[in-house]
Symmetry: C2
Subunit: 215 residues, 2 copies
């Protein structure tokens, strides 16, 4: 349950970021309102799915008027908790950590990268995209003084569990996990796994079926 009086299904929730991205794009183009039909053509989903999905959040669509882009954008942003301005750290300043630190989308969506940690003496003290790389041995003391909500795990698989445990111990409540295996964390900690191989396998399935299964 959430503040909207009905349970939003998992499948709809996983589609919200995509709506949010499209609405951001419309706002940038200074489009004030859009019909479910137009939005469906842009997003390549059916208009009825859009109406059904967005109905979960109450009265943003009006027949003959369409959706108020800015209102819907703000509403979905609020539902996604993007206004909370999550402070974020990355553990691991290798290629993946670099790619993530340089990822323009995070800051734009309200995720503020405050520090990067690594154990490589060559990297410690440098900056990536303006963010300082600290010694991973100092992560605990850093987090004590600078509470952070999200920790991104971009370290080798062998030390992922150890670093994840340390992050949790230091009060981090959300982990973005790029490592191969699922993490065991206390119940009040959220893990979102990004399994790149899973995406490749899903792609392979669709190639075999020669059919796009959608998002």
């Amino acid at each position: 349950m959430n503040g909207y009086g009905k349970k939003i299904s998992l499948v709809v929730i996983r589609r919200l970021p995509r709506y949010y991205r499209y609405l951001a794009e419309l706002l940038k183009q200074d489009i004030k309102r859009i019909s479910s039909k137009e939005l469906s053509e842009r997003m390549n989903v059916t208009a009825s799915q859009i109406r059904q999905d967005l109905n979960c959040f109450g009265g943003f669509g009006q027949q003959g008027y369409g959706y108020n882009v800015e209102e819907l954008y703000n509403e979905i942003g609020a539902i996604l908790g993007l206004r909370d301005g999550h402070k974020t750290i990355i553990a691991g300043a290798g290629h993946l950590g670099h790619a993530l630190a340089n990822h323009g989308g995070f800051e734009k969506r309200g995720f503020k990268l405050v520090a990067i940690f690594d154990n490589d003496k060559e990297k410690i003290g440098t900056t990536i995209n303006g963010v300082m790389v600290y010694d991973i041995a100092d992560m605990e003391s850093y987090l004590k003084e600078n509470p952070v909500t999200i920790g991104i795990l971009a370290v080798p698989r062998t030390c992922t569990t150890e670093i994840a445990d340390l992050m949790v111990k230091c009060g981090i409540k959300g982990l973005l996990n790029f490592s191969y295996m699922d993490l065991k964390v206390p119940e009040n900690v959220i893990v979102e796994n990004v399994h790149l191989t899973d995406s490749m396998m899903t792609l392979s399935y669709q190639l075999r079926e020669n059919k796009n299964i959608g998002e």
Copy 2:
């Protein structure tokens, strides 16, 4: 529809790679069979979901015996098309391209990285994880001589569309897209989008609800 006589739902398909990973892990530990209860505890989903999901693929579970790990592993691998041994290229030898080329999981799952392309003269002619970096200007002629099924787009957003179009023109049937916006491709081409910011937004939603929504 597929060869299994009934339609497998999208949600189940998106869970198959996760089953596949767990079964691979069990095989490595030389575990021959497993009950839905044991598997559910390892995977942190309900046993009834596992039974329901795996029922889609016929008689691999027997009451009182559980699942034959190897059979189920092979079967899911076949459904996912992993036996097809997809040849893969990466466009972009930046940090993301590097991270992907070094990703151990791809080759293990039957994706054979055959070439990397970039326009940076410093990178052309070098190898990443044993794979040659070619001039992106030569991608078309390379693909004519070496047909490939999957192209990974790890190039800056500004040139993603151009490179994707070129890949499609050269006969690539599956694209893994890391860029921000959705690609427009012919109907017979499959695109799997990896939107890292979407994962962050979904994580943010779960933090706000203080509830893990599962995979």
